[in-house]
């Protein structure tokens, strides 16, 4: 044991191989992106310290010979000095580094969606059977006119005279959240693009530029402009259905991004339009945006560059004064505001930010919707809610709290096999999702997972139709901001007030 190799950190998980069942096919060695397994001449050996419990090995073990268990050797229990705090102290004392992780926070904050109940019809206001009657989920994202001018055509039929601002048409109120090429693999992006097209919804490039292979999916893509301006040019702005200015992200409000140089291979270099091997650093702020007026300037610079044909979205993290911030964004001219709650995912973020900064999306939404209505500008922009939408129930509740649509990020990755191990930042993802290693990326088949993503969103859409029917409304638009149809359980008066809902029973 040398001085440098000694570590207090013990393996979190044990990768146990049942050697009676194991046929030494070595699939586990091949499948593990972390290098946990090796062949010891007559049997499989496991280096437990490398295991992250990503689930790949036992899913692909044909004999069911592998089990991953939490290391039973405990760090002595202490409710104050929790295991992960002790481990982090060791980790940082050994490296001197800022601790970073992938995915959203693992902290046990209150999940307000789990304390909200939906209403349903009984007797006096009949429910609707969505299997028999039309149930509209189509959603338009974009600025809506404050009033409509109607006229008559030569046949005396009414016609719309107002010119509608550009809209994104969604067949169901879901979008895929921004995940860049670089943070995820091209195959993962392709799976999402295939699903978005089949579903009639949109995906988002994130700030990594638009790969040539995705250009044909332009009608189903929102292109993003972030502080690093990677891959942003005139044709890029015009290649999608809309443009999004990324100010913040729920998992890391207020800080920038950093794709390490070792992940910038030839293909990513081409897409981001930066040299191979250099760090792709996104500064914390856009250095041309220090005020609402500056934001307006960039929004209209993009509108000018796209001839006013594309809605412009602004993405922000939910933070303490989110209602006032969104009011400013809407007044700056945004057509869509994307609000990302603090449980949202990321490719990499410092734990101190991921776990301790931001606001639950439920509270942010309710406050924003209320504020925009009070100010009479709710029609000026659509709202997309994000930050770990885990089910169709979360989606319905988000819409009733004031969203026009919800964004799916982590859930889409779970479709592709993600077990939320939170190691996206390392680039070793065994599932081929958050990695650029060719042998790992290759195993993610875009067609297969494109279809599974389609299945998930279709199923969730049917579930939304079921509850809309139960609530007696036949259109998702009728539910938007309808907080009267929500009740809270196990919530304090302050929480109910922030959510703008009554307690159950009232």
């Amino acid at each position: 044991m040398t001085k440098t190799s000694f570590s207090n950190l013990q393996p979190e998980y044990l990768a146990l191989v049942d050697h009676n069942k194991c046929v030494r096919c070595k699939r586990c060695i091949q499948n593990c992106g972390w290098g946990t397994y090796s062949f010891g001449g007559d049997k499989i050996l496991a280096d437990h310290s490398k295991c992250v419990a990503c689930g790949r090995c036992y899913t692909y073990c044909p004999e069911g010979a592998i089990s991953i268990v939490k290391n039973p050797t405990v760090i002595r229990e202490n409710a104050n000095w929790k295991e992960n705090l002790v481990q982090n102290i060791w980790r940082q004392s050994e490296t001197g580094g800022i601790i970073i992780s992938g995915m959203g926070t693992t902290f046990k904050y209150k999940k307000y969606f789990d304390h909200i109940l939906l209403d349903a019809c009984q007797v006096t206001n009949p429910s609707i059977d969505p299997l028999r009657e039309p149930m509209e989920l189509r959603t338009y994202l974009g600025k809506k006119p404050a009033k409509l001018d109607l006229g008559m055509d030569e046949n005396g039929e009414p016609v719309l005279k107002s010119k509608m601002p550009p809209q994104i048409e969604l067949q169901t109120p879901f979008v895929f959240g921004a995940m860049s090429y670089g943070s995820i693999s091209l195959n993962a992006q392709k799976a999402i693009a295939l699903a978005a097209r089949a579903l009639g919804i949109v995906m988002n490039t994130g700030e990594g530029g638009l790969h040539d292979d995705l250009v044909p999916f332009g009608k189903n893509i929102i292109v993003q402009v972030a502080s690093g301006r990677f891959g942003v040019h005139r044709d890029y702005l015009n290649s999608g259905i809309a443009v999004e200015i990324k100010i913040g992200q729920g998992a890391k409000p207020g800080i920038g991004g950093h794709l390490p140089g070792e992940k910038i291979g030839l293909d990513i270099s081409r897409t981001r339009m930066i040299p191979v091997g250099t760090d792709a650093i996104s500064p914390a702020p856009h250095h041309d945006i220090y005020s609402i007026e500056d934001l307006r300037q960039l929004i209209y610079a993009i509108k000018e560059a796209t001839d006013y044909e594309k809605p412009v979205s602004v993405k922000v993290a939910a933070v303490h004064n989110i209602a006032a911030i969104v009011s400013g964004i809407v007044r700056a001219g945004a057509d869509i505001v994307y609000i990302d709650g603090y449980t949202g995912g990321t490719g990499a973020a410092p734990n101190i930010v991921r776990d301790h900064v931001g606001l639950p999306i439920e509270l942010a939404l309710a406050q924003v919707d209320e504020r925009l209505r009070e100010e009479g500008i709710r029609n000026e922009a659509s709202i997309i809610a994000a930050g770990s939408i885990r089910s169709s129930a979360d989606a319905v509740k988000a819409i009733a709290l004031g969203a026009d649509a919800v964004a799916i990020g982590t859930a889409a990755l779970i479709v592709m096999g993600c077990h939320v191990c939170g190691k996206c930042n390392t680039g070793n993802c065994s599932w081929g999702i958050t990695t650029q290693r060719p042998e790992l990326v290759r195993r993610l088949d875009p067609e297969v997972y494109g279809e599974r993503l389609y299945n998930l969103i279709s199923a969730w859409s049917h579930e939304i139709q079921e509850v809309l029917g139960a609530m007696g409304v036949n259109s998702i638009e009728s539910l938007r901001g309808s907080r009267e149809r929500l009740r809270g359980v196990e919530l304090t008066d302050a929480e109910l007030k922030a959510l703008g809902i009554k307690h159950a029973g009232l």
Partner: protein, 244 residues
């Protein structure tokens, strides 16, 4: 050729006329009485399009521009060449803050001084090499997070950069400065050395074009020594993090 009298014209109308003119195949534009209109040259394309601007253009001049040349005969304001891909912007007076933010290609030549935040996150890519040449001085946050390309500070009229946070986070590209300044108070992430013959040969082409643009003597500019600032690492923050 197309002449537009921009007096009292909102920017949206002015830029629409320019875009329509380009679509019709017009190559040369003269804008008269420009008075703060934003976004002139925003997102336009065409290597042979030249727009001559009389008056003071407003913010985001040449943003997202891809090819054309903009000639400003007076001062210009903020955000010149924002995220520009290619083309040329010549300013015969001073420029405001945030010149060439995220710029990936093309050239910006400024006769006088420029304000804060010049060349932030400028980046080169393949054959695209963005170049900014400033005749006078610049303010704080110059070349922050610079990732590629070339910025030249000539310091004519004996000016020196007088701000703080010079080249902090710089991880690519090169800055040339025509004066030996005390660099110790600035970024620790860069090296400050004297430019060699290769550097001067490289610079000559751009400096000739610069001096031609403003009718000044190239010999005088090239007459004194240049110093060079380059990043110590393409990965300044590689050791900052540890994985959970």
């Amino acid at each position: 050729m197309m002449t537009i009298d921009a007096a009292g014209m909102p920017y949206k109308e002015l830029n629409k006329q320019i875009r329509e003119g380009i679509a019709k195949g017009i190559k040369k534009f003269f804008l008269e009485n420009v008075n703060g209109q934003y976004y002139i040259g925003d997102g336009i394309k065409g290597d042979d399009v030249i727009i001559n601007i009389n008056g003071t253009p407003g913010n985001d001049l040449g943003a997202f521009m891809d090819g054309p040349t903009l000639i400003v005969n007076n001062n210009a304001q903020d955000n010149i060449g924002n995220t520009m891909n290619s083309g040329k912007i010549i300013v015969k007076g001073d420029a405001g803050d945030v010149v060439g933010y995220g710029m990936r290609g093309g050239r910006i030549y400024i006769f006088g001084n420029a304000g804060y935040r010049v060349g932030i996150h400028m980046k080169g890519y393949n054959e695209q090499l963005p170049v900014i040449i400033i005749g006078g001085k610049v303010g704080s946050f110059f070349a922050e997070y610079m990732a590629g390309g070339v910025i030249v500070l000539l310091g004519l009229n004996n000016t020196e950069p007088d701000g703080e946070y010079f080249a902090s986070g710089m991880h690519g590209g090169t800055i040339y400065i025509r004066k030996n300044i005390d660099f110790s108070k600035y970024s620790k992430e860069v090296e400050f050395i004297q430019a060699d013959e290769n550097d001067m040969n490289f610079l000559k082409k751009y400096l000739m074009e610069y001096s031609d643009s403003f009718n000044i003597s190239a010999e005088e500019i090239l007459g004194s020594s240049f110093y060079k600032i380059t990043p110590s690492s393409a990965r300044p923050y590689a050791h900052l993090y540890t994985s959970a």
